[in-house]
Amino acid sequence: MRSALESVGYLADEGIATALFCAARLPQPLLLEGEAGVGKTEAAKALADVLETPLIRLQCYEGIDAAEALYEWNFPRQLLAIKVSEAGGRTLSEDDLFGPEYLIARPLLRAVEHRGPRPAVLLIDEIDRADDEFEAFLFELLGEATVTIPELGTVRSSHPPIAVLTSNRTRDLHDALKRRCLYHWIDYPDVQRTTAIIRARVPAASQTLAAQVAAAVQRLRSLDVQKLPGVAEAINWVLALDLLGLRELDERAVEATIGSVLKYREDLELVIGRGAAWVATGS
């Protein structure tokens, strides 16, 4: 699993590889948690790449409801059908109006309807942003891989999707949801892995630069900053350095580009107080 993930550019440690393997093979929804920027969303994308199946993504937000997540009736089209049948003098029964052709499938229904050959990967991103009522609404899908549409009946999946849920822990998820899921906490990767990830993501960057940035990010995490920089920030940093044509991380390079890693004024002051040279070289 690890090497398969590596082949699609996602450098996984053993924990995340085991979690994704179990999610795909048991099969069981997987709940991923971790600090922002450690690669939760990327893990789902990588899984879809490995399995060579589509990734269907549902970004959650406050107030998301069935019409946005599951399905909706195509009202304009229904109205049009009514008008057309009126003009043509035909009668139109209700069953005609509530057929599959008037249904707009949103991500969850699309995932259930996916025809294979392999199950789709369904990424339910930042589930903690949705209202807690929304979680209950996922149970049928996660447990049975079915969706019930009152007018049409129950849609059963021939290839139940592999569900990956991510959460930033802005609130506690409901136990009933957790009970249905495998759980994995993603930690910040160590310096070697960060270096390797940077190299994989920014091929243009030199090994030296990648290693320097990985070490610098690690040093920044040892400071008392408000938002600890993650892998995403490290990659952005290297991209910024690369754009400026810098081959090495030195004091001036840090001063010029630190804004791509730290996003709070207090953090910037703290780091500049500690010294840009320290960030670059550790001394």
């Binding site: 053993e14 406050e62 009202f75 009514i82 008008k83 609130r171 009970r179 495998l182 995490r221």
Partner: protein
């Protein structure tokens, strides 16, 4: 990764191992359901673990359901499969709720696994054992260590409060639900006098009239109450008020869906604990969950833990923060000032309830209180029944 071989190579009964190991993790305090144990067994059947590392990850992914239980799992795992592990690694505090950002949660690498036929009993219990004695604590010792805060709680002097006042506190929490000022929600709701036209609903309605829109459906933004976050000081100096304020926290959690935290030297989240139906049981559990009852005070550090672990993630954003503390801080007032500033940028308003404010000659001169005051929107006393109305008014003011 070191590939240490699994100790029992001769046809182990996976279901048995899964069940017994899960029982140990459960006994150590993590909520492992039989369903999860079954999942652990199927995962092992699916991918027979070749190394202790493999087994660790299979177990952790299937049995653990929250970041806070990873430490419990690690401890039991090391005891069972890791041979002799220094108990000092696991004694003392369980990690605080905010996730550790540095370092790895992996157990120490096992060079020489030495597990015998039977699974050893885990010795320490899950709740923080506080200050345990030197050496390996026996099961009995750690049990008393766990129970003692609760005992202390029971014997604390709350005689000053009459039953009436306690009932009042409960009602206050209930009313807080109505009191928290509303914020505009994202969802909309039908309202004949609403300002926006709901085009979708208007079209839908027009199907009844042959596709001619006859009725304009209107809507407006729904208003939702702001979140209330209660942070209560339970250090020694606040002891006379602790029980009363805990009642407030509990009813706030129950009725207003508030978030509740307590701190003395460190921060403990009590929202889940206090949600239990029975007040006494909830208070007992709260006593166990917060290991630092009647200890010293580190307000600044506790607020920092709150900001880092919860506030920044969204818990405090747009919320009404209620801090119940006398402002006696043994930490650095500079830290408190900085964290209060951060909090004030996140929160909608900050209400500071300080029972010492009631006495006529009180002036907020203690280092902590003086540092915090510039960022406080309302400073009230809340030491008796009438003063509690002040608290309510402070929470409610828009």
């Amino acid at each position: 990764m070191i590939a240490a071989p699994i100790p029992r190579p001769a046809e182990p009964d996976l279901a048995d191992i899964a069940a017994r190991f899960s029982a140990l993790v459960r006994a150590a305090g993590a909520a492992v359901t039989p369903e999860r144990a079954g999942r652990f067994a199927s995962a092992m059947a699916l991918a027979p673990p070749a190394t202790v590392d493999d087994l660790y990850w299979l177990g952790r992914v299937t049995l653990v359901d929250d970041h806070s239980t990873i430490a419990v799992f690690d401890r039991v795992f090391s005891q069972v499969f890791g041979g002799l592990v220094d108990p000092a690694d696991f004694r003392g505090d369980v990690p605080p709720p905010p996730p550790p950002s540095k370092g790895s949660t992996r157990p120490p690498k096992q060079a020489a696994p030495g597990t015998e036929g039977s699974l050893p009993e885990p010795t320490a219990s899950t709740s923080a054992t506080g200050d345990s004695s030197e050496g390996e604590p026996s099961a009995h010792e750690s049990l008393t260590a766990v129970l003692s805060p609760e005992e202390r709680l029971r014997h604390q002097d709350f005689a000053k409060l009459t039953a009436d006042e306690l009932a009042d506190l409960r009602r206050l929490g209930d009313r807080m639900a109505l009191a928290a000022p509303p914020r505009p929600g994202r969802r909309r709701t039908r309202d004949p006098s609403g300002r926006e036209l709901d085009v979708r609903a208007t079209l839908r309605r027009s199907r009844r009239t042959g596709g001619e829109p006859m009725v304009a459906v209107r809507r407006r933004r729904r208003r939702r109450p702001r979140r209330v976050v209660l942070i209560c000081d339970i250090s020694g100096s606040m002891e006379p008020y602790a029980r009363a304020y805990l009642q407030l926290l509990m009813s706030g959690v129950g009725a207003a869906r508030a978030e509740a935290f307590v701190f003395a030297t460190r921060l403990t989240r009590l929202t889940r604990t206090l949600r239990a139906a029975n007040p006494d049981a909830a208070l007992e559990k709260a006593g166990r969950a917060a290991p630092d009852w009647s200890g010293g005070t580190r307000i600044g550090d506790s607020l920092k833990a709150f900001n880092d672990g919860y506030g920044r993630r969204g818990l405090a954003r747009g919320a009404v923060m209620v801090v119940l503390s006398d402002g006696w801080d043994t930490g650095d007032p500079g830290v408190l000032a900085r964290e209060m500033q951060r909090l004030s940028r996140l929160a909608f308003r900050i209400v500071w309830v300080n029972p010492r404010k009631a006495s006529a000659d009180y002036e907020p001169l203690t280092g902590g209180m003086a540092a915090a005051l510039p960022y406080v929107d309302a400073f009230v006393s809340g030491h008796n029944r009438t003063a509690l109305d002040e608290v309510l008014a402070a929470v409610a003011s828009p």
